[in-house]
Structure formats: C-alpha cells, structure tokens
Symmetry: C2
C-alpha cells in the first residue's frame, strides 16, 4: 500500500494545539514533539489552514492554534485536509480496452473502492480531537502526576 504518515502527524499536531488550549504554538515547538523539521510542520499547517482547521499568525509572538473547538474537529476533517487520494488506487495504466474484463473492471473496482472509502470516513467522522485528548489523558496523568505543571507549560517546555 505505501501509506503515508501525514494523517498521523496531522492528528498529532492538532492534538498538541487542543492540549495547549488556545495558546499559539510555534512550528519549532510542534516539530520537537513530532520529532521532525519545522518546515515539514509549517507545510502541513498551511494545508490545515486552507481547510480552516487552524489559524496561524506571522511575526513575533506568532504561531498556530485551532480554528474551532476540539469537539468540532473530526478526524475526517483532518483526513480530508491532508490525504489527497483514497485508500486504494486503480491501475497505474488503464487496462486493455479490448478485453471484456479489462474494459469494465475499473467501473466495478471504483464501486468497491467507494464503499471502502465510505467505511473509513464513517469511522473517522465519529472521532473528534477532543476524544483523542480524552483518550490521551489517562496515560499522561499517571506519567506526570508527581508534580502538577499546567498542560500548557508541559507542551511549551518540550525538549529532546
């Protein structure tokens, strides 16, 4: 298949922003959490901004934050923002039009692939960023329960 990590990274990024609770995050800090280059993050933030999922501020003290409340952003929104193609692709080159199977297999396959895509979308539409944060917290609360710094301070003090 050769899937990309774009969806996983995008969910990670938006989860960080939900965690930071309206405080704009710098691409450099996000990149440290994701463990990649700030430009990779900024590229993705541009796509997410085009889909109206985040808003960014240039200049000093700038950064990016969620454009809506975490409960109003579904994983389907994110999926559609960063993944261009469906789950599967058809043939690289069109099949032989002179073969009774080749000439029509594309039509049947497209129907099947649409069913698959719909199933994926139904799952993703039912999970919000708020849900992801909720499912994250049980793990985190035990991990950081000794001292109790604010969530925001945790995110902003990330270091490798």
């Amino acid at each position: 298949m050769s899937t990309s990590s774009r969806f996983a990274v995008a969910v990670h990024v938006l989860t960080l922003m939900a965690w930071a609770d309206d405080e704009p995050l710098k691409s450099e800090h996000v990149a440290e959490s994701v463990n990649t280059n700030p430009v990779v993050i900024r590229r993705m933030l541009c796509e997410l901004a085009e889909s109206k999922l985040v808003v960014s501020q240039t200049g000093a003290m700038g950064g990016s934050k969620l454009a809506r409340q975490p409960e109003q952003i579904t994983l389907l929104d994110i999926y559609q923002a960063v993944e261009t193609r469906g789950v599967f692709s058809l043939h690289r080159h069109p099949p032989n039009r002179h073969c009774p199977v080749g000439v029509n297999i594309g039509t049947v396959l497209n129907e099947v692939l649409d069913e698959v895509d719909s199933a994926v979308e139904r799952v993703l539409a039912n999970i919000t960023i708020k849900d992801v944060v909720s499912r994250l917290k049980p793990c985190v609360s035990t991990a950081v329960s000794k001292r109790k710094p604010s969530a925001k301070a945790q995110v902003l003090s990330v270091r490798n």
Copy 2:
C-alpha cells in the same frame, strides 16, 4: 496517502481467472489485459499462490488458475495477500518521549487505525470474486452481444 495499485491489479487478475473458468491463463495473456509486463504479473501470482488463492503450472501448456471456487475467494483474502501494511502508518520517526502528547499519541492513534482497518476489512470480507464477475457481466453482455464467442475465447484472444 500514496496507495498502490497492487490490490486493484490482483482483483483484476483473479477476476480474469474466474472468467476463464478453470482454464489456466498464461502470464503473458494476463499482462495484456492488465496492460503491464508479464514479470509484474508473475511476481504477483507468486504472492497469490503463497496465500493459496491460485495454483500455477510450470512448463509447456502451463499457466495459473484459481485454487478455489470464485465464491470462496473474498476481496479480503486478496487484500491480505498483496498489501503488507495497513491503511495508514504512524510517524516515520517516533515522537518526542518527553512531551506528554508525543509519548502517548501513538497508543491512541493505533487504536484509531485499528478501527479503520477493521472497517475496511469488514467491507472487503463481504465481496467475493464471484460478486465481481457478476457485477462485470451486465456491462460486458451489451459490449459483446453482436457475436457470442465463449467467455474463455474472449479472454484468450486479447490483443492490444
């Protein structure tokens, strides 16, 4: 995402064999219908043979045919035979373990991706190669209704 066409090609190949009705097909003829190189087909046939979906015969008058009846081969069987990874991947490099989000996002994402994979598999498990052939026939019957050569003859006389 960067999906591959492996699944589409594999379905095409097995559909050809169901269409040919137990007559062994040569990789060269299959390649003509799929519009690719015979070696690409033979590579895929090896994978399908390992998964016990086809059987091949070397030597003169050899070829490949289905190992089971078309109604006993689901698209899930094919998917699992040719697609190694799931629909999505996690981060290329593991996230920052010192970030409260980074350290646990993988766990949550894996749960989500498992849900997605399950949904895909449920769809594919309910479609057989026989179903694909059935959905193909209405299109074909109109396309070749002038003369009525046998289905087998059609497949075996494919030319570009």
